[in-house]
Symmetry: C2
Subunit: 597 residues, 2 copies
């Protein structure tokens, strides 16, 4: 079973649920009529399905190879050619700034391509993915000169980029970082230190690699207040845009052996007096790194859904194909030796859970990405503010909730395969193994949950979450009279009430004792994710009902409604459990001394 | 972090919770005073910790190699020597029949060794594990001659054994199997067919391998009613007990590439006119295979707990060692650069969830295994009947629930490690990958759930489940006045009421429409598992409280009580969610046609 990009579902979201045509007055959307968008989505499907997907298993089985003498990395067979095709197709600059050669399309359209790339080949998609993060940091914080030097090359894909945060003794706690930067006197710095887990840190697909490296300028304050961000190119750029001498001090000295994403080079990067250039202000590197980080977090949430989609497609194909046992209510394939296993209710439970999470999660991602576009360029300040609040609030939810659930979906997909799912002859093992990293990198899901309850919830006096509640209340009020929609609206209202209850509990108890906030954080994040998906499912049912009311007999729409019903019956009951758990507070968690574990 | 066998917890269960000394009147227990048992448990800890655990990662990284010319398999370095030590230590015959050279110890004592072996090295432990299953089938169904020929050699470990069920087109649905048996006229048969996923099917550690193979005798009825079981030895046994000529028709022609358990040879076995001997009656092979299968299912449930234990030990060690960030309530390691991550409530949540599942699950396994001993040899028929009912009822619960939860525990353990957990430099990736098969083999967890609701629940008019409810009711009644125990007893009573509610729903709705039973099955199995663990936790608290009341200040006992509190606060709320889900019935699950997935 090869991955089939879900064009129909993407267009349903863009056209029918989000109705992106209504934003034609925004610059990014002006050139993106729905017909143009459909062409892009179809082109993305063709490219990712035909070029990237066939390389996924090869990447897993071959992995990357480091030559310890030259410090160069060879990517799996076919990756280099696929990367060239990616650049030639213009896919690297889809959402980038037209001022530097990008196509300036809405983020929400770019997201469609990103999801498909990640489903087709997660390890491959991380090379351009990291490059885009580095692009964003330079775009936000770079000088004009830096922008002119780096952005056009990164948009064409000729140069890629990386994020260098982690060191052996510090990951989450960046305040501990030791990599140092010594001024050369000419505005440049000598960077020295070791960075680990640097995705796409070295490879053979692009002419240059632009490392963005967090380091501490000699004499800077300790902790996070003394961290600066540096551009450390693998090759020095010439004035004419060509690639000059090798920045000898920057090299890859090791590759990690990992559970998954073998096709992506996870590098140990050694910087020994490597030449680097400050980007942004001294000692405010972390702020700029968070530009990349927030983008990366949404991208990781997307990976959760993307791996889930690919894994579930494989599971559905297997469940229709594998003949084993008979339906409990009598043969459904009487002429065959057995029924396909999709007749069994418990197999359907796994597949419908997957479908409900994937499609709800995808809608939540697209809906949020659209807010990213609105935050960026909507003419109405109130809309921009609300959208920006949502982006801050929802980023940790999307990252944490969707990757937790995405991994479960992949595990369900393995389960549908039975013994075949544990072998490497079927693609699901790889999806499960690849997906596992998404719960960890760019801040573990526990860190996301803490970011949510400790920072995002309280930001601006809780304005974001209150706006979110108001939006749902308003939607519920406006749609309460719609009899077809009522069961779904009621479920949304009930879940939102649970989330509000949990929010109140946090406000009352988290301030008193911050351990209460930490203790509640993951359950709260899941409760938030469930509420978000409940909202998305009602929006999708409403859009589907409208089509049905217009006379459509397309089973796509009735299937949406049935899947929403599954979500309410079989996924939402977890909300009450999360609420009950989070309200138990921190006393039991904190009672035991470390030795007792 | 190397695995440390949990001797203390095993002895707490055997001595304080189950009080196995009370069964001194039973033959298996007569020679197993608690002091002897303690020596065995300590010996098991030493052997598994020192001999098996160091080979676990080697097995994962090296795997098994098949020589396609000789059809022989080389196991990972060290496995052969470890196997010899296993045999020399007498570990292969711990629970086996003294009539054939076994030590005849209680199953519940053998379980202690099995758990430790599986934690230390799951892939290795499957070689003797499968052999014991084959031993049990021959012990139950073999002729005297067959028993005399095979059992002594299997007990010493000189010969191992396998189970051959699955064929490429049939796994769960054994009625489809095609491997055929043609009588030779001398009582033996020629066996022809291909079997896949045969764990330990070929290896270099024992002198002989005794394959138990399901096949259809020429002319036998179609479906499960025409399946017979055959002994197909790799080498023909000589009359003097030595190994004779090679059974040329039986060979390994392939090894599976798998997500985990690389150290175990998962073989494609090709039988071409291999000589085999009927065991048991013609056409009743499945019944005998279920002797092995039920034993194997308990063993797989145990693997869930065993991998969870090993993974969690690694997570605890990492959480105490890794310095990152500060406690939300102020530094706990002020002289260090950061606090150990075990100060963070969400890290503790992961570790306590693991602890609550592992220790509760272990107790449930030991408690059930003890019923296995009682069913076998208690002088009171009523006790035997009840114990036998429990074994039937609880086997699918232990297999399905404990492996589902065991995998979650392993995933939690990866999560505690952050990025390190995704690399292969730390042991947790292997535990997660190895553990994943436990949800699948010996009947997927979906098949377990269906066995529970479709067969075991209704067996003998529901006698087993009703006895289980009565036992809990009686315990609740007897302990209701114990103020210390009351919160735990109340939680048990409430969970049991939910399970009873779910059982009633199933009885009313499952008969009406079997799809309702299938649709409810997995949630019901989890609700059952939660109830079982709730009961175990109350029993453990009661035993711990007794020690505390006697004046013990050992933190082991207060930790038990605190972990039980975590279980009630943070694990049991899922019970209500499972009940709500299972009561939604099958309508939504069955609504969509296969094409809609």
């Amino acid at each position: 079973m090869t991955y089939q990009p879900p064009v129909r579902d993407h267009m349903f979201l863009l056209r029918d649920v989000l109705n992106i045509e209504q934003y034609g007055n925004l610059p990014a959307f002006a050139d993106a009529s729905i017909d143009v968008v459909e062409q892009i989505v179809e082109g993305a499907a063709q490219f990712t399905g035909e070029v990237l997907a066939p390389l996924n298993s090869i990447g897993d089985k071959t992995g990357c190879k480091l030559d310890p003498v030259t410090n160069t990395v060879t990517t799996p067979p076919g990756f280099k050619e696929a990367y060239r095709a990616l650049c030639e197709g213009g896919w690297t600059g889809l959402g980038s700034d037209p001022a530097y050669g990008g196509q300036g399309l809405p983020h929400v359209v770019n997201l469609s391509f990103s999801e498909m790339s990640s489903s087709a080949n997660m390890a491959f998609s991380m090379y351009p993915g990291l490059a885009h993060g580095a692009y964003s940091a330079i775009h936000t914080g770079g000088t004009d000169d830096q922008k002119q030097t780096y952005l056009p090359k990164m948009i064409t894909g000729e140069w890629t980029g990386t994020m260098n945060l982690t060191e052996p003794h510090c990951g989450t706690d960046l305040g501990l970082l030791r990599t140092k930067a010594v001024p050369n006197g000419d505005g440049s710095y000598k960077i020295t230190g070791q960075k680990i887990w640097i995705s796409a840190g070295e490879h053979d697909m692009s002419d240059n690699i632009v490392h963005l490296v967090l380091a501490r300028i000699e004499g800077a304050p300790a902790g996070v207040k003394g961290i600066s961000l540096f551009i450390v190119p693998k090759f020095f750029p010439n004035a004419d845009g060509s690639v000059g001498a090798r920045n000898e001090g920057a090299k890859c000295v090791g590759l990690e052996e990992k559970m998954g994403i073998h096709g992506n080079a996870t590098c140990v990067m050694q910087y020994d007096d490597a030449e680097g250039y400050l980007i942004g202000e001294e000692n405010s590197g972390l702020k700029l790194m968070f530009v990349m980080m927030n983008e990366a977090r949404l991208g990781v949430g997307l990976q959760g859904v993307a791996q889930a989609e690919a894994a579930n497609q494989a599971a559905v194909a297997f469940a229709k194909d594998r003949l084993q046992g008979r339906s409990l209510t009598g043969p459904k394939n009487a002429e065959g030796p057995a029924d396909p296993i999709i007749v069994h209710p418990d197999v359907r439970r796994l597949l419908l859970e997957n479908k409900a999470i994937i499609e709800g999660g995808r809608a939540f991602l697209f809906w949020t990405a659209l807010h990213g576009d609105l935050a960026h360029s909507h003419p109405d300040e109130a809309v921009r503010t609300k959208a920006d609040d949502y982006m801050g609030l929802l980023t940790p939810v999307l990252k944490g909730y969707l990757t937790d659930r995405g991994f479960q979906v992949c595990s369900n997909a393995v389960q549908v395969h039975g013994g075949s799912g544990f072998t490497e002859h079927f693609p699901v093992s790889q999806y499960l193994r690849d997906c596992r990293i998404a719960l960890i990198y760019e801040g573990t899901n526990g860190v996301q949950a803490l970011d949510l309850v400790g920072r995002k919830l309280a930001a601006k006096g809780g304005r974001g979450v209150m706006t979110f509640f108001q939006e749902i209340d308003q939607f519920v009020g406006e749609n309460d009279g719609d009899a077809e929609l009522k069961p779904f609206v009621d479920a949304l209202a009930a879940t939102k009430a649970q989330l509000q209850d949990g929010t109140m509990w946090l406000m009352q108890n988290g301030l008193q004792n911050p351990d209460n906030a930490g203790a509640a954080s993951t359950d709260y994040m899941h409760l938030f994710g469930l509420t978000g998906l409940a909202y998305m499912w009602v929006l999708m049912v409403k859009a589907a009902n409208a089509k049905i009311a217009e006379g459509s007999t397309d089973p796509f729409f009735t299937t949406k409604v049935a899947t929403a019903r599954y979500f309410i019956e079989r996924v939402l009951p977890d909300a009450a459990a999360h609420l009950a758990k989070l309200k138990t507070g921190s006393a039991t968690l904190m009672a035991l001394p470390a030795e007792a574990f």
